[in-house]
Each structure stands twice: as C-alpha cells, then as structure tokens.
C-alpha cells in the first residue's frame, strides 16, 4: 500500500514525560493529515476565581500552587506586578536576589527537562532510568545540576517547591554570608559541568526541521531578560507588558481546557529558543563562547534546538547567580514596607517555559478584584499544533505508526509543555467566531 492510500489513526491517550495531562489525536487519510489535535484535558483549577477577595500578602503563596515546577516564576511575576502598582522601589539587594532566586528555577527546571523528559527520546530510551544505563555520567551530572538549582531556590525560599520566601517588597528573610559563600563554591564547581552539558547537548543528532515562526520573549537593554523587561517580538515589535492585550489574544477551542493564544492572529513561540533567538547578544562573554563552539546559528528556526537552548541557559543562570552573589552582603532589611493602592497591576517575566503575564485589578485595601494569568504553555499550544503538522509532513507520513507517534512526542517535548500551568483558567468567553 502506498502512502497515498494509507489511513492511520494514532491516539496517544496520556503523553508521557510531560508535566500534567495531555493527549494527542492524529488521523491520516489518503496520505494527508485529516485531524491533528493536542488535547489538554487536565481539569481546570479556577485559580483566578478564588484569588478574588484575597489580600495582596497572600498572592505569592497562592499563585505558586499553579505549578510545582515553576512556582518562582509565578511568585516573582505577581510581586513585580504589585510592586509596580504600589510604587515600591525594591532595595538593590532584593532586586538582585530575585534574579538569583529565578536563576535557581531555570537551572532546576531546564536540567529536569533535558535529562528526565527530553533526552531519552534521542537515545532510543523510554525514560531517564534507561538512559542512565547507557549514559550514566551524563544523567548523574544532570541530576546534580538540577539539585543545585533546587538548593539555590532553597536559599531564598526555604524549599524549592512552593518556596515561602517572597513577599511584596522583597523577601521575608536573607541568607547568611556563610551560606552564600558555600553556594558560590558549588556554583563555581558546576560551571565546567554545565559547559560539558552544552557540548554533550550539541553533539546529540537532531532532525533538520526548519519552520517559519514568530518568537516572543521579554527583552532588556542590558541583561539576558529573566525577571524584568519589555516584550519583544521577532518582527521588531517592542511593547511594555501593559500593552499585551493590544497585540495578543486568547480563545477557547473545544478540545482543550487551556486557551489558545495568538499574536496578530497567528501562533507564536515562547520559551528558551525564542529567548535565545531574540536575546543571544545579551549573553555574557563566556556563555557566548560556548554557544559559538556549539555551532548553533541564531536565530534558529528548528525547534529541535530547544534542548541545546536549555543547556545554554543553564550556564547563563550559573554565571548570573555567581556574578550577583559576588560581594554579597546581608541587607539591613530584606524588604521595604508597602502601602497598597487601587488600580491595575501588570507584570511579565520569563518562566522556564517562556513568557508569563499577570494582571490583577486591586481595590484600595489591597484585595484582588479580579485576576488574569497567561502562562507560557497556553501561548505555545497553537504553535505546537502548527509545528506537529509541518514537522510530520517533513518527516514523512509513510513511517510506521510507532515512528510517527514517537516523532510527535519529540516535537511536543521540545516545548516542555506544562499542562498543569496551562489549565487553571477562569476567563470570559473570548470566542470570536
């Protein structure tokens, strides 16, 4: 039977090695894709609804619970939004340590994704435990780097899942100089490990799969943007976070409990590769050198470069943490006092998986009137479906079912979808049909 006649239906009822619950439906008829859906069925948790009426002091602890893998992103974005509305000027110590804290999450999340979720695909393994049999040193190195990211979060948050250190105005507490000195030793020792990780990642053979897409990321005039910056688009648009709604829209599709986002009516990419595409010139010298050595040409149009992009960002985060912890001093106070005021608070940062946007309408007592949160995975959802379609056609539909399924899973994992994050929505009807 030739490809032209073949009809195939592939249903992956539960996607393995992604965070949260999603499924994939693919139907091929007469040699063409008749149906392709990334189904997200993780039940909605209605976060925005029960944030209503809560005091601003509770927000960092509550929004953390949207995601166990990137709670820091939620906490820092909420804090940034509220501090802007309340006119709070952070102490330079707190401003720097927010970035260090966030670096810990990038290191943890990226290393978890590379080693436990993504890499097994490229070595013919079903999971990291199998991968550890053929690449034991590499997996152990990855788990050590992940653990170091967790330790960095622990310093400021006392634990890495739902840390408890962020408060509006700074942090609840400051780590001692002795703990910071011990951490700096560990960070320094991890640099050669992260460099080796980049070399290893760059040597993994990846499919050639160039596609045209729009990249969107936060952008900062001096830093590789993590915890602050404008929103930048690869077509040249630069906007403040407040202008997000003028260019980006969300809508609900029936096969998903997450909302699809579009930029000027088209899908777009957020996440490590979008950031590297837009911000690679902001990388510190030592990281740029490794990037050059890796041979990755930027901007890249191949999503299979995402794994390498994560490795590069791990090295960046280690360097940034070291730089900012240099000359550390314990501050007089880790936080500044805050006086709430009514208005709209908007914040935007780079979660490990990409742009994260928050909007809170607050009353004069500092209570939430309504909240809206746009996480990275819902922004990527339209792009993932578009990518799957293009990538499958490029791969060839005449492959056996198992090969098609594996290829689809690899494509999906390039985005490191966090389905738990994507499905907490409670929003108004935005169907424009």
């Amino acid at each position: 039977m030739t490809d032209q006649q073949r009809s195939v239906a592939i249903h992956v009822p539960v996607l393995a090695r992604v965070e949260g619950e999603g499924a994939l439906d693919l139907r091929i008829e007469d040699g063409d894709i008749a149906e392709l859906r990334l189904r997200i069925f993780e039940p909605p948790r209605f976060f925005e609804k029960f944030l209503e009426g809560r005091h601003y002091t509770e927000i960092p602890d509550m929004v953390a619970r949207i995601c166990g893998i990137c709670p820091v992103a939620y906490q820092v974005t909420a804090a940034q939004a509220l501090e802007k509305l309340f006119g709070v000027e952070l102490d330079p110590w707190a401003r720097d340590m927010r970035r260090v804290f966030y670096c810990g999450e990038w290191i943890q999340s990226h290393s978890l994704h590379i080693h436990l979720l993504a890499a097994p695909d490229f070595f013919g393994c079903n999971n990291a435990i199998e991968l550890a049999r053929i690449a034991p040193e590499e997996v152990r190195r990855g788990l050590r780097i992940q653990a170091l990211g967790n330790e960095l979060m622990d310093l400021f948050g006392a634990r890495s899942v739902h840390p408890v250190g962020v408060r509006i105005g700074g942090f609840h507490g400051a780590p001692s100089l002795a703990r910071i000195q011990a951490m700096r030793e560990k960070l320094r020792a991890a640099l050669p490990e992260a460099e080796a990780l980049i070399r290893w990642a760059a040597a993994i053979p990846m499919p050639q799969d160039d596609q045209a897409f729009v990249s969107v990321a936060t952008h900062h005039p001096t830093d590789y943007a993590i915890e602050r910056g404008q929103i930048a688009v690869s077509d040249g648009l630069r906007i403040e976070a407040d202008a997000f709604d003028a260019h980006f829209a969300e809508q609900h599709v029936p096969h998903s409990t997450a909302l699809f986002s579009t930029y000027h009516h088209q899908p777009y990419l957020v996440g490590p590769l979008a950031r590297l595409n837009l911000n690679h010139v902001r990388l510190p010298e030592q990281v740029r050198a490794l990037l050059t050595e890796s041979g990755l040409a930027l901007p890249s149009r191949n999503l299979f470069h995402s794994l390498l992009a994560r490795a590069v960002e791990i090295l960046l985060a280690l360097h940034e943490a070291l730089r900012l912890l240099d000359g550390y001093r314990v501050p007089d106070s880790p936080w500044v006092p805050v006086t709430p005021r009514a208005g709209v608070a908007i914040g935007c940062t780079e979660a490990p998986r990409g742009l994260l946007w928050h909007r809170y309408e607050m009353d004069g007592e500092g209570r939430v009137v309504n909240a809206r949160i746009v996480p990275p995975t819902s922004q990527n959802q339209g792009r993932i479906e578009e990518d799957l379609r293009l990538s499958l056609l490029n791969f060839g539909l005449d492959h056996p079912d198992d090969a098609l399924r594996l290829h689809c899973e690899k494509v999906i994992r390039n985005y490191d979808p966090c389905i738990s994050c994507a499905t907490h929505f409670l929003r108004f009807n935005l169907d424009r049909a």
Partner: protein, 267 residues
C-alpha cells in the same frame, strides 16, 4: 547504608496524578542522584511524568497525587484502588482536596459557561475532593508540597516492612526544637503554627514569617482559641476565615473553624 535484606522481587510502585500542580511528584524527581538509587530498589511500573506508562498492572504500592475533580477521576480512582496493594495519598490535593477545594460550596454552573466558549468540552465536578472521600486510603502524607525526605522515609519504611510513621504534631513543636523565636509572640503576626501539622521543619518561621497552614490541621488543633487570638491581634472576621480557608480549606477541622467564625460574625 542500611539496605534491607536483599529481596529478589522488587516492590512494584505506581505514581498517579489527579488534579494538582505536579509538585508532590517532584519529591521523587527532585531527589537528585538518589532517584537512581530509588529506581534500583523499586520497580516503577507507572509514573507518567517520569516515563513509565502502565496504569492497569497490579502494583504493591500506589502513590496518588491530586484531588478528584472530574467524572472520569471517579472511575479512575476506583480502578487504581482495585489494582494496588497499598494506596498512599500524597500532598494537600490528595488529602484535603487542595487549594482548588476553594471552589467547593461557591462553584456554580455559570462558572464554566461564563468562562469557556465551549462549556460542553469542560468536564469539571462542582467539588474538588480528597482521595479518601472515594476509596480506602492506607496512609496519608500531608503537605503542600510533601518533601523528598518525607517521601523517602515512607518508601524506606515500606521497604523495611514497617508502617510509616505519621507525625500529626504541631508546627510549634518544630519551632521550639529548632529554637526559632515565636512569630506570634515576638512579632505579633497571625501564625497558623499552633493548629498546623508538623513535617515541613517550620520553614516559614525560619524566615521570620507566619506559617500559613500548608500541611493541614494537626491533631487536637484548638482552632477556636487561635481564632480568638487572631481577632485580638486585629484581624477582621473575614481575614480570620481566610487564614483557615487557603491551601487546605476543605480539611474538616479548618472548614469547621471557618464556619464557626462566619456564623459568629453574623450574630
């Protein structure tokens, strides 16, 4: 290392997820190199986030994260119970219904129709409930999130063939043992430590802030006295209710505490 007598058959373990943030499964995935040690001692039969997918095979121990919040969940938890020797609920979602339990009692049909343009595609029950509301649970590990050491202690107990130890004492006892100054006494901050289950290591007081009850109610929790204390510290009745109605809002002790304040403030 204290390795139990070599058993030729490794215990078969499953990790299942219901409605949650995935954070309690991270207690396994964040073990670092210990994860490989663990994988050598047990057979991970089903653990979707880590890779193995086999929800139908019988296992010795099933760890269940998340709350029951859809019609499909109702069937799935029965299936898991039938195929598991021991069922262990991990984390606030699985033990109390979790933060998403805040919708219980206020959730209306219009929530979904207001929000989603295709409400027929959204399968959500009105209430988010703990695993023990539906099936027999052999052991509950409270916490939002549970920690790696807690999980390893449970796994090691099971490997040694002993019942895991349950610590239902109060966060206050952990503060005292560690010598942290009392947040409520020294700073006048409304702290949930006196009614909250130990296990975290008094993390919040270690940073000079209040406990917010993420490990759920302790045994013999005197919520009434704490509510009076909070009121005397200047919290409004509404603010006191919110202290009890947060991460573990549907835990019966916290729910009752909140209801009593609501009734009282209407008198």
């Amino acid at each position: 290392m204290n390795t139990p007598k070599a058993d030729p058959i490794k215990p078969r373990v499953a990790v299942h997820k219901f409605s949650s943030c995935d954070g309690c499964q991270l207690a396994f995935l964040n073990l670092g190199e210990d994860l490989l040690t663990l994988a050598g001692r047990v057979e991970l039969v089903h653990f979707a986030e880590a890779g193995p997918l086999d929800p139908d095979t019988d296992v010795d121990v099933a760890f269940v994260e998340g709350s029951v919040s859809t019609a499909e969940d109702l069937e799935r938890i029965q299936h898991i119970r039938q195929h598991s020797g021991l069922l262990i609920a991990i984390g606030a979602c699985a033990t109390s219904g979790g933060i998403q339990g805040l919708r219980n009692g206020v959730f209306g049909e219009n929530w979904v129709t207001q929000i989603y343009s295709h409400p027929e595609a959204i399968a959500s029950l009105e209430r988010s409930t703990p695993i023990s509301s539906h099936v027999k649970v052999d052991f509950e590990l409270w916490g939002c999130p549970v920690s790696g050491p807690q999980m390893l202690a449970v796994v090691n107990s099971l490997l040694l063939g002993v019942t895991p130890r349950d610590n239902a004492d109060k966060v206050c006892t952990e503060c005292k043992r560690r010598g942290y100054p009392c947040i409520m006494v020294t700073r006048g901050i409304a702290c949930m430590g006196p009614v909250t289950r130990a296990g975290c290591g008094a993390l919040c007081p270690s940073l000079g802030r209040d406990c917010y009850g993420c490990y759920g109610p302790a045994e013999n929790a005197n919520t009434g006295a704490l509510a009076v204390q909070f009121r005397s510290q200047g919290l409004s009745p509404e603010a006191v209710v919110q202290r009890f109605q947060s991460i573990n809002s549907q835990a019966p002790v916290f729910l009752a505490a909140a209801d009593r304040i609501r009734i009282k403030s209407h008198d």
